[in-house]
Symmetry: C2
């Protein structure tokens, strides 16, 4: 989902009344970032509080390539990483993930092996070719075992876009909240995928948006969040429950307009390290604690949810490793602003960094000329000369710097000769050097692929007659074209 | 000012708390349009309820050229036009204009000759060269006579951007409200120009915005509006006063980033008939009548303010001429939606039309290659192939059609072969034909220029020693390059 997809962030159709109300009753962050312009690495960062370059969710196969966890990926979340639900257990929390896991689908990466107590959802993205031949349809797990597959037991009509999955995921969330709210502290990670192509919505929402099918999906998610907040209030636990809404990457403009969202006034989208790829909608809601109607200009990160959640549970993050997430409670409760950089990585490469209002690009790239000429466009309708480049341009010697307050769309690089440029560069350089000197990259998890490891025969498949026969095991280097 | 300049419309710095509150307490229109992508014609349309092509605020000098009222313009608002304050007099209203008039500056066009009872402000834009040689600095009038000039008695520091003008204009507004509120019904037209290049703000606001000097100006306007609304409440007339905020054209991206604003997710800016040129922020506030927190998807126009204001005063618009403005009261009070087209003119040419969610472009143009190569860019960072053209492209035979709900940024023209295209085209064509068959263009007012008519010696200049000597009178055809 993109920064610009919510009414409260300026989407002209204004079809997210529940999220808009959530913002009005809580704190809105206009300067909040995912940890990566792509799904898996960003989610790994959310649950570990660490940049993908540290937790292993990157590739060294090629310079500055986005990598993730398709079904043929061999890697996943390393055992050495400590995930949020694992740590929350120490404070008696019960944790559930509903929806897309995306941190590896082989047995050792199962969410219940990494701290979650319950899971209802799927391990990967749900794209095709939907024939169970070239690749299996992704499984849906209930806890340890699969209970069906997308497009089969959990149908999505590719033609109409009709699917009940968001309703099922909503029900799973509501059931979990009802079961836990009065007995244990709980952590619910509601990770729906309806806005991921192929986009879907249930019948009552299909065709109801002014924005096409993508808007239908957004409306259904918005409605679901409204129902969850309502339940928290009905159960009288709202003042004891911290709720945060955000997304793992910017809207995928390659799928626009019918299946792609809006990044508002920002440049480009998913896959890129321009603002459109990583700046996210972000809303915090905690009645009685987070005062209503606030806007915080704190530079925030999805990784902060790790540290902040631990703080809420009275825990501290592991001290034996670098943690990139901040504890946002001083911001949420006292409106404090903390100085911190935002790092924009693409795979193994630090593409850009923001400090205060200034963003420096060390490398610029959208996608290759080859892809672009095939019609794959991460920045449709946008073209900033020397910035939205189709060659991977090296600016490390003389970074491009933008002032994001005056120029949120990254259209007007500061003059290299200006005092503002020199001062901003010096401040950013110092922070980046510090970061890079201390950086110990994790073992890259996204280098090796193997068609045999796909979800052919997940645990439980035999019980429901859903096992498929894997092909011969041939490990190979994954190819990442973006 | 642009659609994207208000926090409530998604400006990331969110520096308009008063306008955002005005929206929360009233009705927000995401689909509201100026009558022209340029100042004078749009303001003439506001006060007459009629398209510029009808009221004469256009040129026939060249096809599809934007024209306005610089100091050398000979024309202005024709006596045959009936202006809102003229009509409101019949219901006992006292009217004041504070700020930029822009409907002609020669004696016959004076606002007090067209229904206003009071004026404090200037007749034109305040740009240079500021030396009183090539052109005079624009005068500031109090009612019938000038009381000084911009950059002289009303200084603007071009280097720092410091000027007290918005504060003076605020004071004029507050004084008028205080004087009138308890005695007569009143109409205040608060037409400030601080966000027009060269942008200015007063000392307490300078340097306070995250958005540079333009943001400082926006903050001061926002603050002023907060003070006006507060006064209405203090005087206990808020429930008897209809307040509307909008702008005359989209943000001027040619002046970005330091002096240009934001058109949010929309294409291009001022001067163009893309959404960025004409879609405007629009807020209605009338406590006790317009319910709080509403968003209306009514296609609205600045011309509707004419008709709506008359309706509020119990008057009807003149019946002897075509009126383009709608009475929005059914929308404001009962949430009704009315079908109506939006016409996008550039000078004498109907460039585009919107009906429902579909917008058809009959002509596309940004600016000439010649201008563009000189660095004048109405769409910086944006480039939609075949749409943001630098030749004036004729699409009248096969218009480009966009769905503004799915594609507010006008990036993805519908396929000519689609049923959606065919249906939309047929509906739009029928409305456009109807419009064009009935259209009686007014006498074009913006054809003739003459340096002798500039504000060399406005009435009152002799009293304050501010008369300048006009050059020889040489009427000539105005040149409009955009």
């Amino acid at each position: 989902m993109g920064w610009g997809d919510l009414g409260v962030y300026g989407e002209p159709s204004r079809e997210t009344p529940n999220l808009d109300r959530m913002a009005a009753e809580g704190m809105l962050f206009p300067n909040f970032y995912s940890a990566n312009p792509l799904c898996s690495p960003s989610r790994a960062a959310l649950l570990t509080g660490r940049l993908p370059i540290r937790n292993g969710f990157y590739t060294t196969n090629a310079h500055a390539r986005n990598a993730y966890t398709p079904q043929e990926i061999v890697g996943g979340i390393p055992d050495s990483e400590q995930l949020l639900p694992e740590l929350l257990k120490k404070a008696g929390y019960v944790s559930k993930i509903v929806g897309k896991w995306h941190l590896g689908h082989r047995p050792q990466f199962h969410p219940l092996k990494h701290g979650f107590d319950e899971w209802f959802g799927s391990p990967n993205c749900h794209f095709g070719p939907y024939d169970n031949k070239a690749r299996p349809n992704i499984p849906v797990y209930r806890d340890w075992e699969m209970v069906g597959r997308y497009y089969e037991e959990f149908p999505i009509n590719l033609k109409t876009g009709e699917a009940n999955l968001t309703q099922i995921y909503l029900q799973e969330a509501l059931d979990f909240i009802k079961r836990q709210a009065r007995h244990h502290p709980f952590f619910l990670y509601w990770a729906v995928d309806a806005t991921h192509a192929p986009v879907y919505a249930s019948k009552p929402f299909l065709g109801t948006s002014q924005r096409g099918r993508y808007g239908d999906a957004v409306r259904e998610i918005d409605d679901s969040i409204g129902k969850m907040l309502e339940l928290l209030q009905d159960l009288h636990v709202a003042d004891n429950t911290f709720v945060f809404f955000t997304s793992d990457n910017g809207a995928a403009l390659i799928s626009a307009p019918e299946q792609g969202g809006s990044n508002g006034p920002f440049l480009c989208g998913k896959q890129t390290t321009f603002e459109g790829g990583m700046r996210e909608p972000a809303l915090a809601w905690w009645p009685g604690h987070v005062a209503a109607g606030q806007v915080s200009h704190q530079l925030g990160s999805i990784m902060d949810l790790f540290t902040t959640s631990l703080a809420l549970a009275g825990l501290t993050p592991p001290s034996d490793r670098a943690i990139d997430g901040l504890n946002l409670l001083p911001t949420l409760l006292q409106g404090r602003l903390m100085d911190r950089p935002i790092f924009y990585y693409r795979g193994d490469t630090l593409m850009a960094a923001t400090l205060g209002q200034h963003k420096a690009h060390f490398w610029t790239w959208t996608n290759s000329w080859e892809n672009f000429r095939q019609g794959i466009d991460f920045c449709p309708g946008q073209n900033v000369s020397g910035v939205t480049t189709h060659n991977l341009e090296d600016h490390t010697k003389l970074p491009l710097i933008f002032h994001l307050g005056r120029d949120p769309g990254e259209r007007f690089p500061l003059s290299f000769a200006s005092t503002e440029y020199q001062e901003a560069l010096s401040r950013i350089t110092s922070v980046v050097q510090q970061h890079q000197e201390a950086l110990v990259p994790g073992q890259p998890q996204l280098n090796v692929c193997n068609w045999a490891v796909m979800n052919w025969a997940p645990p439980g498949c035999e019980k429901i007659g859903k096992c498929l026969t894997p092909p011969e095991s041939i490990p190979k280097k994954c190819l990442w074209s973006h």
